[in-house]
Amino acid sequence: MIFFLQQLVQGLALGSIYGLIAIGYVLIYNTWGVLNFAQGDMVMVGAFTVLVTYSMWGLPMYLAIPLAIVLCLVIGYIIELTAFRPLLNAENQRRLIATIGVGIFLRNLAQIIFGADAYPFPSIFGNKSMNIGGLVVVPQDIWNTVVGILLVVLLMIFLKRTRMGKAMRATAQDREAARLMGVNVRNCMSLTFVLASAIGGFAGMLLAPKYFVVATHGLTFGNKGFAAALLGGIASNAGSMVGGIILGILESLAAVYGSSLWQTAIAFLILFLVLVVKPSGIMGKKDVRKV
């Protein structure tokens, strides 16, 4: 039983990060109507920004993280301005390919600047494990879970309760109608994009202490986030967190009770099954929009 619980704890910690990555896909998909395949690479960018502010500039953690988030916002804005906005009215295919291009660009830029090897990153919340009634728990994992879920809840409150959030949701629902109702659609779209980039970047900062900082991590974690987003329902904010956690736990269980060869395959298996069985995902509504 303890062994099973241990897998749940581990899966939850990893899954809440997948959820954070997934919500970035969802936010951008809802507002821009395009899957942003550079979202995973924003995770990598986030990990590198905090590496720069903390390890290289030597700032204390309470300054390093906010500054890294600001850097992610800026980088997100640059991407939006250069690769997304000019293609707003282009065909979906072209926009999709543009996001793939941005991903390749970011990955290679990181390799040019930081090289191909991994960088260690110190733990923010402590890496010493604790034993709670037979369960081995690492503080970093607990905080990753708590912060991840908290962030999604805050985001949903922001979208539901605040004026700005409502405007963003209106834009997501119907760009033209929102514009006619006096919503500054362009700002809303920018804000959503920048916010999604920063959330992706923040997920990267949470991952850094556990999994090193590597230029190619964007690809690995981006794929997991994408699978989680589809699983939860690509149009559902809350669903992305649910999808992420389910994916994280399934990965853990598959490796332990099945074969460890399945660990990486499971995300893609889920992706495949969701697309075949329930394309709108667990929490998604029927949607006629095309990718």
């Binding site: 600047i113 191909a116 556990k210 090193f212 074969s259």
Partner: protein, 402 residues
């Protein structure tokens, strides 16, 4: 205004890219000093150059080892050319980056053969990448040496044009398993990266264990790019293993050590093969990798096995200001093995032919090299007297265990 801003940003990004690009060029320049100096200023060899292709991961995963490979080869070339080259002909290295990717390796090898017209090739690091390149070198029939790939199948699959400077995993895995048994560990677990390197070693380990009537307590695979290996470690823990053989490169090695420590498995003895050899292992794993024991072919800190080895250690230090690691040493040796083959071919046939070079390399017997006294067998394996077992100590250095 917005458009202008967008353009400005684009220009700024491009500029940043160009600036970074410049940085790397200068870095490469300094890193390759030995390389650029080889042909002209230091060399006394003046004849028509003998072109040799070198490929390995200079970017992407395992780049650190690709760079080690180039350092070792370049030092050997510099020395060979300074001593008059091969019958007065200097060796010229043409280096390519395979990005640790099998597909890229195939295209750079084709480029080196067809457009640069090299007479022989050296590369690569990851066994899967080397095997992919070997399909090309076998088809074309051109001598191919690998300094670092240890995967057993490289020399057991009937390829005619391969010579390996590294010790095969047949030897390394045996040494590691024997070490574990001799040290009294009873429940031996295995975690291997799921490719030709890890999977190949797994087959060897299973066979050796079966011969001794033993079984693995845990047998877990993981993807070389996987970030999270805790589920596998949970299985190792549940199996009650007292030692874990991890057959993988240094980065996943550090990941395993760190995550094992987080799961409170600090007492678990970690063992591994030559793939763990890199300064990055300690940089990423810190305290958690101290005490890791792995197989190696060379240790600069140990008493030099022969005069050749002592000279190498000294020359390497003088050239790069750093202590040579086993990948440096094997790459250096591999270049000398090739030089021996080239010399033999020119002496015997008066011209360079693929078969002549291969014949020369395979006739090497009891040659003193930096990693010991080697003999090249008919499969192309450099057979050596012993495999070292080394332990990582506090501060990132190594000590000899046996």
């Amino acid at each position: 205004m917005k458009k202008f801003l967008a353009m400005l940003m684009t220009v700024a990004m491009l500029f940043a890219l160009v600036a970074c690009g410049n940085n790397t060029t200068t870095n490469n320049g300094t890193g390759n000093n030995g390389n650029t100096g080889t042909g002209d200023d230091t060399s006394t060899a003046t004849g028509e150059p003998i072109k040799v292709g070198l490929f390995g991961p200079m970017s992407g995963t395992n780049a650190a080892v690709g760079i080690s490979q180039e350092e070792g080869v370049m030092l050997a070339v510099k020395e060979i050319n300074a001593a008059g080259g091969i019958n007065g002909r200097p060796i010229e290295i043409i280096s390519e980056d395979d990005e640790n990717d099998a597909t890229t390796a195939v295209s750079v090898v084709n480029k080196l053969i067809n457009s640069d017209e090299v007479v022989a090739l050296i590369g690569s690091v990851n066994s899967s990448v080397t095997l992919a390149a070997m399909e090309v070198t076998q088809d074309v029939g051109i001598p191919h040496l690998t300094a670092i790939s240890s995967g057993a199948s490289i020399t057991t699959s009937g390829y005619d044009y391969i010579v390996r400077g590294q010790a095969s995993d047949l030897l390394q895995a045996e040494a590691v398993v024997n070490y574990a048994i001799d040290a009294g560990y009873e429940k031996i677990g295995l975690m291997y990266q799921n490719d030709d390197y890890g999977g190949g070693a797994r087959d060897v380990i299973l066979e050796i264990m079966a011969d001794k009537g033993l079984e693995l307590a845990a047998d877990e695979a993981f993807e070389a790019t996987a970030a999270d290996v805790t589920p596998q470690l949970q299985n190792v823990k549940a199996a009650g293993c007292d030692c874990l053989i991890m057959w993988c490169m240094y980065q996943p090695g550090a990941t395993i050590a760190n995550q094992a420590a987080q799961l409170g498995m600090g007492d678990l003895q970690l063992l591994g093969g030559g793939g763990l050899t890199n300064a990055q292992l300690y940089e990423l794993g810190g305290e958690n990798v101290v005490g890791v024991v792995n197989s190696q072919t060379f240790l600069a800190g140990a008493d030099a096995v022969n005069d050749f080895s002592a000279a190498f250690i000294e020359n390497f230090e003088a050239e790069y200001g750093d202590t040579a690691d086993s990948n440096n040493a094997m790459s250096y040796d591999t270049m000398y093995i090739l030089a021996e083959g080239l010399q033999y071919c020119l002496d015997t046939y008066g011209e360079l032919t693929s078969d002549g070079i291969m014949e020369g390399m395979k006739s090497i017997k009891d040659m003193d090299l930096a990693t010991g006294t080697i003999t090249v067998d008919e499969n192309g394996d450099a057979v050596r007297d012993s495999i070292l077992m080394v332990r990582l100590v506090e501060g990132g250095g190594y000590e000899l265990v046996q």
